[in-house]
């Protein structure tokens, strides 16, 4: 795999660069996956959120080909970021991406008229073009017959039928690519393309000539949509799918999560036994392993969630989900596509934020990212469970159907959702205000997902998460450990060790800020190591209160501490704090990566802390007032 520097260097190399271009739903990514296999990498173009997917393969005569998968676009105007970047790359004016040698345009054979328009537009950009007539199998099934010879003669470019999901079907395409490469035409300057309307007219005439048989609308899609988009059945199936998805995320993730947890515990014990008791052992055991482990434990949930999201995406159901939810999301100015990322954030905000890539419009995507952390993620559950268990009696309520504890937990979820909707509406009126974006989108034909492509994409997501665990999460774990360990306790001091550390000093300083919320210094200190991940705060509280023993013993101890030394208003304020506070470095790092902007990351951190503070303050004062 070649790295970015060799592709962008001005020194001519003998690698040939081919850019894949095509409209959404033409099977371009499948073709890319089949051609490059696992030799690919995903990054962002510098300064923008447009994904840069590149990979390579070698031809029979040992020529290395670098493939760039440009974003799916309908045209090459300057309207969206995707269009702009694609145009810049193709015309050779992009700052970091050198001009490709050849364009491989992918068109959906079952929708020739629409896809030919893009081909005609591309021909004006000065690069040699090869057309892949993709989804040949589906076209055949629907009775659509295209004569590639006529198309090739009329367009003056090579035209090859392909079935992107089948490797064997790409031999002809590879041969055509090899041939074009050996007599490569040097790139010319781009010329102005005719208007959309004119191009469309040409495309229609061309399609009429090349189509031997028109065929019918995809039958399976038609029949499935009758059920899946049914005004009543459709909603029921949608929610059953979601419900099932979340049940399985929790159910399937339980065993591997326990395994990872006990693995890290075993490692901690092992190191504690074999290493001498010094700062290094403490750094390894309490800093690195505890910190990174507390984040890595979510990997199974993230992977399972992503498998579902990728399957929904690959089958074509995701677009239907957006259709069903659009009206509801439109009420707060969002797009139907925002629903699944937000739902995913209930398991963990990280996959949720990463899943916003399916939202085409930048402003909608930003708004969705900004509110994703308000969805109650599973790391909050241990905190909620401990506090609710300690301060809320489980009296039967609502005709004895539910316990009060469950109702309170549900209420906390609800507060998160309602706040998210309010924040979204406010953002859409202020910071992310702009021209409304049309919902307009194609509902793609249903397809069976290809396991290999799913695995490639899943691995890509896992790699991003693991890389982050190995970098920013590792550093912050070490940083938080150092803050909690140093300086050491002076001789003869009576408070627990952490009291005298930087974290302790900061916590005692923070206590002045948190005092109106009813937080004591123990809680203020615990919030600092709790930045690693929300549930770490419980362990940190255990440390501050100098509790010893196993996790369960610490939890029991904590329950007693909360019941005896926290007032009710304090405990409720702490709950309110956790509904909003962005107490998770991993999420913030993800937001930084996905928005490609420090400003938005800082803004999100700031507004969530502000909301947390205000909510905790209001809850504390109200509770004091009500309870006297």
């Amino acid at each position: 795999m070649s790295d970015a520097s060799s592709e962008t260097s001005p020194i001519p190399n003998k690698d040939i660069k081919i850019a894949l271009v095509g409209s959404p739903n033409c099977g371009k990514s499948s073709l890319f996956n089949t051609l490059t296999g696992s030799h690919q990498k995903v990054a962002n173009y510098p300064g923008v959120t447009v994904e840069r997917r590149s990979g390579n393969y070698t031809t029979e005569n040992d020529q290395n080909i670098i493939l760039i998968d440009l974003p799916g676009i309908y045209s090459l105007k300057d309207r969206t970021l995707d269009e702009r970047v694609s145009r810049q790359v193709i015309t050779g004016v992009h700052k970091s991406e050198s001009r490709p040698d050849l364009l491989l345009c992918v068109a959906d054979s079952t929708n020739l008229r629409v896809h030919l328009r893009l081909v005609l537009e591309l021909k004006h950009l000065g690069l040699p073009v090869i057309l892949a007539l993709n989804m040949q199998d589906m076209a055949e099934r629907d009775g659509i017959k295209i004569d590639p010879k006529i198309l090739s003669e009329e367009l003056g470019i090579p035209v090859v039928p392909t079935i992107a999901v089948r490797r064997g079907s790409l031999d002809k395409l590879k041969a055509a690519l090899t041939q074009s490469i050996t007599n490569l035409i040097p790139p010319k300057d781009a010329v102005q393309a005719p208007t959309t309307r004119e191009l469309q007219k040409q495309a229609r005439e061309l399609a009429a000539k090349a189509l031997v048989s028109e065929g019918t609308h995809h039958k399976i899609t038609r029949q499935l949509d009758k059920v899946l988009l049914h005004p009543f059945l459709g909603i029921i199936i949608f929610f059953i799918t979601l419900f099932g998805m979340f049940q399985l995320v929790y159910f399937w993730a339980e065993a591997p999560m326990t395994l990872i947890e006990s693995g890290f515990h075993a490692l901690q014990e092992l190191l504690t036994n074999i290493l001498p008791d010094n700062w290094f052992r403490s750094l390894l055991v309490h800093g690195i392993i505890a910190g990174v482990g507390s984040v890595l434990v979510f990997l199974p949930q993230i992977l399972i969630l992503f498998s579902f999201i990728l399957i929904l995406e690959a089958t074509g159901y995701m677009a239907r989900a957006a259709f069903i939810m659009d009206r509801l999301m439109a009420m707060v100015g969002l797009n139907g596509r925002a629903f699944i990322p937000l739902m995913s954030s209930f398991a963990c905000a990280i996959p949720g934020i990463m899943a916003t890539r399916t939202i085409e419009h930048r402003r909608d995507r930003l708004t969705t990212i900004m509110i994703a952390p308000l969805m109650t993620c599973s790391a909050r559950i241990p905190v909620y469970a401990l506090l609710i268990g300690a301060v809320v009696p489980n009296n039967p309520v609502i005709f004895g159907l539910f316990g009060l504890q469950g109702v309170v937990l549900f209420g906390l979820y609800l507060v998160g959702i309602i706040s998210a909707l309010i924040v979204a509406a406010v953002l859409k009126m202020t910071l992310t205000r702009g021209v409304a974006q049309p919902f307009l989108m194609e509902l793609p034909k249903y397809q069976l997902p290809v396991l290999k492509h799913l695995l490639i994409n899943l691995w890509e997501r896992a790699r991003i998460f693991l890389k982050r665990a190995g970098t920013i999460i590792l550093y912050s774990a070490i940083g938080l450990w150092a803050l909690a360990q140093y300086p050491k306790k002076p001789l003869g001091a009576t408070e627990p060790d952490i009291y005298y550390s930087f974290a302790g000093t900061m916590g005692r300083y923070l206590q002045h800020i948190f005092e109106p919320l009813g937080f004591n210094w123990e809680m203020s200190i615990a919030l600092i190591p709790g930045m690693a991940a929300r549930e770490v705060a419980i362990g940190a509280l255990g440390t501050v209160y100098a509790l010893q023993g196993s996790e369960e013993q610490i939890e029991q101890g904590m329950r007693a501490v909360i019941q005896n030394s926290w007032s009710l208003p304090t405990a409720f304020a702490f709950l309110a704090w956790y509904v909003f506070a962005p107490q998770c470095f991993a999420t913030l790092a993800t937001v930084r990566r996905e928005t490609n902007s420090w400003n938005w990351t800082i803004f999100m951190t700031g507004y969530l802390f502000a909301l947390a503070y205000i909510a905790a303050l209001v809850v504390n004062k109200t509770a004091i007032f009500l309870l006297g």
């Binding site: 309908y74 949509d225 005004p231 409304a436």
Partner: protein, 86 residues
């Protein structure tokens, strides 16, 4: 004049043209016609309303040629269609 937004589920019609300026938001309307064309709307083509969203019957899914396109009624408001429903 009849517009795509006026149709109900199951209705068929022929596209006559586009009137994006029917949208109140001028900025929004500017690109709408181009976007509609690009995704596959075109004069002379037959459209059929296949599905309606569960709330307020919005958005709608229409068939144009071999494809299904989803759009909000607000956007469908810019598509002028033949008076007599086929």
């Amino acid at each position: 004049m009849v517009y795509l937004s006026d149709l109900n589920k199951g209705d068929k019609a022929t596209i006559l043209g586009f009137e994006a300026d029917r949208c109140k938001d001028i900025e929004f309307a500017r690109d709408l016609e181009d976007r509609l064309l690009e995704i596959g709307f075109e004069e002379g083509l037959e459209v059929k309303i296949l599905h309606e969203g569960p709330i307020s019957r919005d958005p709608i899914a229409v068939r144009i040629g071999q494809m299904t396109v989803a759009l909000r009624r607000m956007e469908a408001d810019a598509v002028k269609i033949s008076n007599g429903k086929i």
